[in-house]
C-alpha cells in the first residue's frame, strides 16, 4: 500500500510524458494517454537541445568518476598500509570534508575558475567533482584496504615488488568490491549534481543535463509533457545503473552513511 503511494509520483511523470498538451488539459493527471505520443520527448530533445546537455553530462561524469576514485585509491594506500607520521591527521582532514556545506566553497570556487580561465568548461566541473569526491572515496577505500591481511604485501616485498606494484597489482584487484560500490555512488551523485554546474558554468557549452532540465522547467510552464519527458531523460541513466547494480548501491549507502 505504502509502496503504491510511493510510486504515484513516478507513475505521474511517466504517463504525462507520453501525452499531448491537449490530452493533459482534458484528461487530468491519472488517466492513461488516449494516444501515446512522443511529442514531449521530441520537443525536449530537439528544440531544447537536451541531447547536447546529455553529451555534456557524459563527458563530465566519466572522467570525474574515474579520476576521483583513482586519486583517492592512491591516497588510501599509504593511509592504510604504511605507518607514517601524520597519517591520522591527514585521514581526519579528508573525512572532515564530508561534513562541510557546499556553500562555504561556492564563491571562492567561482573566483578560482575565473582566475584559472576555466570558467564554463568541462574541465572546471571535472576538477571540482574529483576534489569533492575525495572525502567519501578516501574514507571508504581506506577502510577497505585496512581490512586486507598484511601478509600479502610482506610476501610481495620479498619478491621485490615496490610499493606501486603492490598497490596496482595486489591491493587494487583485491579492492574490486569497494571500487564497484564507489563507481556506482560517484556516478549517481555526479550525474545528478546541480549546484556546481549552476555556479561554474554558464552556457550550453559545458552545462550538465540537470541544468538543461532546469532551463526547460523555466521555459515550459504549461507543457508538462515536455517537462516530465526531460525529467525522464535525465533519470534513465541513473535508473539503469541502479537497477543493474542495486546490491552495490545499497551497500555503498551503508558504508558511506554520512554523505547524503
Amino acid at each position: 500500500m505504502l509502496a503504491i503511494i510511493f510510486l504515484v509520483p513516478v507513475y505521474g511523470s511517466l504517463v504525462t510524458s507520453f501525452k499531448s498538451v491537449e490530452d493533459i488539459m482534458v484528461g487530468g493527471f491519472w488517466k492513461f494517454p488516449r494516444h501515446f505520443t512522443f511529442e514531449g520527448y521530441i520537443e525536449a530533445w530537439k528544440m531544447q537541445n537536451l541531447g547536447k546537455y546529455l553529451i555534456n553530462s557524459i563527458i563530465i561524469t566519466f572522467p570525474s568518476v574515474v579520476g576521483s576514485i583513482f586519486l583517492a585509491s592512491l591516497a588510501a594506500y599509504p593511509l592504510s598500509r604504511i605507518r607514517f607520521k601524520g597519517e591520522k591527521f591527514i585521514f581526519i582532514l579528508f573525512v572532515a570534508g564530508l561534513f562541510l556545506p557546499p556553500q562555504i566553497h561556492l564563491i571562492p570556487l567561482f573566483k578560482l575558475a575565473n582566475m584559472l580561465g576555466i570558467f564554463d568548461t568541462y574541465l572546471v566541473l571535472i576538477l571540482t567533482h574529483i576534489a569533492f569526491g575525495q572525502p567519501i572515496c578516501v574514507f571508504i577505500l581506506r577502510n577497505f584496504f585496512i581490512s586486507l591481511p598484511h601478509e600479502i604485501e610482506e610476501a610481495a616485498k620479498i619478491d621485490g615488488c615496490n610499493d606501486f606494484s603492490i598497490y596496482w597489482r595486489i591491493i587494487l584487484p583485491l579492492a574490486k568490491p569497494a571500487l564497484a560500490v564507489l563507481v556506482i555512488l560517484q556516478f549517481t551523485w555526479i550525474w545528478n549534481e546541480f549546484l556546481w554546474g549552476l555556479v561554474l558554468t554558464q552556457t550550453e557549452q559545458a552545462r550538465p543535463l540537470t541544468l538543461g532540465l532546469y532551463n526547460l522547467q523555466g521555459m515550459f510552464t504549461v507543457e508538462w509533457n515536455v517537462q516530465t519527458a526531460g525529467a525522464n531523460i535525465a533519470t534513465i541513466p541513473t535508473i539503469i545503473v541502479f537497477l543493474a547494480f542495486q546490491r552495490y548501491f545499497i551497500k555503498g549507502i551503508t558504508l558511506g552513511a554520512v554523505k547524503g
Partner: protein, 314 residues
Amino acid sequence: MREAVVTNTSPLLKRRSWYSRIGRQRLLVPTVFLFPSLLIYAIFVLGTMIYSFVLSFTNWDGISRTFNFIGLVNYIKLFNDAEFYNALKNNLIWVVISLILPMFLGLLLAVLIDRQIRGENIFKSIFYLPMTISFVVIAVIWSWIYEPNLGILNISLRAVGLGFFSKAWLASQNTALFSIIIAASWQLTGYSMVLFLAGLRNIPPELIEAAELDGASSWQSFWHVIYPMLRSVRTIVTVTIIINSFRVFDLVFAMTKGGPGTASSVLAMFMYREGFLKYRMSYGSAIAVMQFFIILIIMIVYLWRSMKAEEEVY
C-alpha cells in the same frame, strides 16, 4: 625462481626486510601516493573554504579586481538582517520535519520489510528509487503534483469533497516550504530505510527470540530490545538528516527559488541570492561561514550528547 626465494627466506628475515624497507622510505612513499589527491583537495576544498572566511571580512562585490578589509561589518549586518533569521527558521523547520517524517517512515518500512521475506528486494528497490533521482527531476515531478489546476493533489482533494482545501501549494505563503519538505522526505525515506534495515540485520536473532521466549509481545520486543539496539544507526541517520537539512538548496531553487517572497527561503538560497544575484559576494561568504558554524555547533552538541548517553547505558 621467485618462489624459491620466498621458501628460502626464514620468517625472521622476512620481517626484518619488511621493516627496514619501510624505515628507509618512511615518508617518501606516502608523500608520492598522497600528493595528487591532497593537492586537488587542498586547493578546491580546503583552500576555497579558508578563502570564504577571508572574503567574509571584506567588501568584495564579485566583479571588482580589488577589495578592502572591513572587519566585522558583514557579520553585524547579518545579525540585523531579518532575512537571515527567516532562512534560519526555515532550515530549523526543515530539520524538525525531516527528523520526524522520513526517519519514522524509514524505520517503519525497515521493520515491515525485515519481517516480510517475500518480495523484499522489490520493496527495497521501490523505496530506494527516489534516492537515485536528481533534485531537479524531483522538483519537476512534485511541481506537477502540486500544480493548482491539474495536479494530482488538488484533483484528489476535489474528488473526495475536500475541494476547499485545494490551493496553489507552491505559490502560497503558508504551504510553500512544507510542500518542498514533503518532496524531500519522499527521497529521504528510502535512505533511512536502507540504513535501518542494515541495522536490523545486525541484531543477533537470538536476542529477539529470547525476548519472545520471555513472553514479550512484538511491540514490547521492538521497544525494549530492537529500538535500543538501533542506537548507532539512529545517530547516523540523525546526523545525516541534520547536515542535509542545513545544506538544502537544489530542491528549493528549482521549485520556488525561496518564494513566494522569502516564504520558503533557506540559508543556502539566501546565500546564493545575495552572492550571485545581488553581487554581494563578501556578504554571501559571511552567510556561508555562519551556515558552516551552525552545522558545526549542532553537530558537536549532538555528538557530545549521544556519546554521553552511550556512557550512561554502559
